[in-house]
């Protein structure tokens, strides 16, 4: 077997050594710190595949629009007067100005700020200013003046995804087994799910994959969040009406838990909930059971965190957080954080959900700032170039992994590529492997497609 980072090896094998039979999964530290690799992942991981754009309830009304990104490229979503959402690159066909300057709103037309070309919600150019006087050649008259539509645009039960490359599998196929977890969020109400208004955007000075991993990292909870765990414990023992995550979920090692990797880079972890009654959803338990069955209802009350590779994550414990990652540089990441809730839930349940969310997940809350600072600590530590090139952060739990679904996966009807289950104190790190395998696969395929014969 070749040593990792042997420069004779092609990219990406140079950066990832993956041999489960030998108990090896090594990620080279350049994966988090090399700007050249960042460029490759923007081109081949983000800008050639399905990427999450937004949830449809973020643009609820006709003529609502929202500006977002695929990798580094600006995207505009616009709902037309009939309610259909279109997805375009936010770039004027004239000289390239962004036609939409603001992040969201409601309007019939986007008027380009530079020369006033005007586009409707379907991306059609409805006005080329002073076209008749323009002495334009035939070439111009035949040219496409629309806002460039995304090559692919898909809606999975309200979650909107786009791709700049037409040559991707259908969205449902891309989502593979992770769609069962999206279903678990959507089906919490018979009316579906919604993004609760009020967003927070924040940045941290570290690689985007710190967040990618951390969402599924149970190992850090007791060491990064002791302050939150203590506050939760004192609220519980003081009989506070304001309960959040129950710490028993995280510190009782006997609690059952598991993790799964799926095709196309997605992954999930679950932890059994010691006391589901602190969760807003529990107030609907009987109705929920009647509608979706006991097994799925119980599943919805577990702690479940999952990644829809590469840029969308959910943390579902007391409440549900939706996180959207946008890598800005190899050592800088933008996060968009939203609270998700079942549509039509009772006011007291919604209120509790919102305040639990603010308490734990906000960048102004009692837990997320600790995570973000830790990512920055890692990025700082990674400047140590003379330290071993390979990190040891992906090995915990490796002896426990099995191929295919485990018993619990079969019970709930999902088909992961690998499963790992047992006591919660295993705090498995192998759940990241699926994302790195997909990362490598995409970079490899991307590089191959760029080679001119």
């Amino acid at each position: 077997m070749n040593a990792i980072h042997d420069s004779a090896l092609p990219v990406p094998e140079r950066y990832l050594r993956d041999d489960p039979a030998a108990g090896v999964f090594d990620v080279h530290r350049d994966v988090y710190r090399d700007p050249a690799l960042f460029e490759l992942e923007m081109r081949h991981v983000f800008e050639r595949h399905w990427v999450f754009l937004a949830h449809e309830t973020q643009l609820p009304k006709p003529l609502d629009y929202l500006a977002t990104w695929i990798g580094r490229q600006p995207v505009l979503l616009h709902r037309d007067d009939k309610g259909k959402i279109g997805a375009f690159l936010n770039v004027c066909p004239h000289k390239g100005a962004a036609v939409c300057q603001s992040e969201s709103g409601n309007r019939k037309f986007h008027v380009c700020p530079y020369h006033g070309w005007t586009f409707d919600a379907r991306g059609n150019c409805v006005l080329v200013k002073d076209r008749a006087q323009g002495a334009y050649p035939a070439h111009f008259e035949q040219a496409d003046t629309r806002l460039p539509p995304l090559a692919r645009f898909g809606n999975y039960r309200g979650f909107l995804f786009g791709s700049l490359n037409p040559d991707v599998p259908p969205l449902e196929e891309h989502l593979a087994g992770i769609s069962a977890f999206l279903d678990m969020i959507v089906d919490q109400s018979e009316h579906g799910t919604e993004v609760i208004p009020g967003r927070s955007y924040y940045t941290y000075d570290a690689n985007w994959k710190m967040q990618l991993e951390n969402c599924l990292d149970a190992y850090h909870l007791t060491s990064t969040h002791p302050s939150f765990i203590n506050i939760a414990a004192s609220r519980a023992s003081g009989g506070s009406s304001f309960r959040n995550i129950d710490i028993a979920d995280f510190v009782d090692p006997a609690i059952p838990s598991g993790s799964y990797t799926f095709a196309n880079g997605h992954g999930a972890i679950w932890i059994h909930t010691a006391n589901p009654e602190v969760r807003p959803l529990y107030r609907q338990y009987d109705a929920l059971k009647a509608r979706v069955g006991q097994q799925r209802a119980d599943m919805m009350l577990k702690t479940i965190n999952f990644t829809v590779f590469p840029n969308l994550q959910f943390s579902c414990n007391a409440c549900i957080q939706m996180r959207v990652m946008r890598p800005l540089a190899v050592d800088r990441t933008e996060m968009r954080s939203y609270c998700i809730g079942p549509k039509g839930e009772p006011a007291d349940q919604r209120k509790l959900r919102i305040h639990q969310f603010e308490d734990f997940f906000n960048p102004t809350g009692l837990a997320t700032p600790d995570d973000s600072r830790v990512y920055e600590s890692v990025q700082m530590g990674l400047r140590a170039r003379s330290a071993p090139a390979v990190g040891l952060g992906h090995l915990r739990g490796l002896r426990q992994v099995i191929q295919g679904p485990d018993e619990f996966a079969r019970e709930i009807g999902i088909t992961p590529l690998t499963s790992s289950s047992g006591r919660s104190d295993v705090q498995d790190e192998t759940v990241f492997h699926g994302s790195y395998r997909e990362w490598a696969r995409r970079i490899k395929a991307g590089l191959a497609s760029e080679v001119t014969p």
């Binding site: 603001s102 927070s200 997320t368 600790d370 600072r373």
Partner: protein, 164 residues
């Protein structure tokens, strides 16, 4: 109470709050608030509109009890929060204080703030508007409501009560 008296009373309390935060005299800071105080940092819906209802929309911070603020103080003092170790040095500047209501038992104020802070060789700042409701408590005045509208809400890593 005359507007002049209200301005003098309110300004003194706001300046005191700023100083207590900068000097990290947390218990004295907590004592400025009533037991049932509302502490609210709204989030933004879009560039132009902020959230208006903390029970149906997500805020950056929302508490309606002083004991919740005490949780946050405990956290930064505990030495167990990575985010506040080391604590940033802060400098609260408050200006443009205006009296919106000058009652005998309640004063409402508007003010603007800027908090510069320094952490690990970096200096940054948050700025925005304060809206305060102060309530008379015997001879003292306390903060019954504090609404903090942060205008630069694209948050570098974190934002906490000691930074606004």
């Amino acid at each position: 109470m005359s507007p002049e008296q209200a301005l003098a009373t309110g300004s003194a309390l706001l300046y005191r709050q700023a100083r207590l935060l900068d000097e990290r005299r947390w218990q004295d800071w907590l004592d400025l608030f009533t037991e049932d105080c509302e502490y609210w940092v709204p989030a933004w819906l879009s560039e132009q509109r902020q959230t208006e209802d903390p029970n149906t929309q997500v805020s950056l911070i929302y508490y309606d009890l002083r004991s919740r603020l005490a949780d946050r103080v405990w956290r930064v003092q505990s030495g167990t929060s990575v985010a506040s170790d080391p604590m940033p040095r802060t400098c609260h500047a408050i200006t443009n204080i205006q009296v919106d209501e000058a009652g005998d038992d309640a004063i409402r104020l508007f003010a603007v703030f800027r908090v510069d802070y320094h952490w690990r060789a970096q200096s940054q700042a948050y700025f925005g508007h304060y809206q305060h409701t102060l309530r008379r408590d015997g001879t003292d005045w306390r903060i019954a409501r504090q609404k903090i509208s942060v205008l630069n809400d694209y948050i570098p890593t974190l934002l906490d009560f000691y930074l606004v």
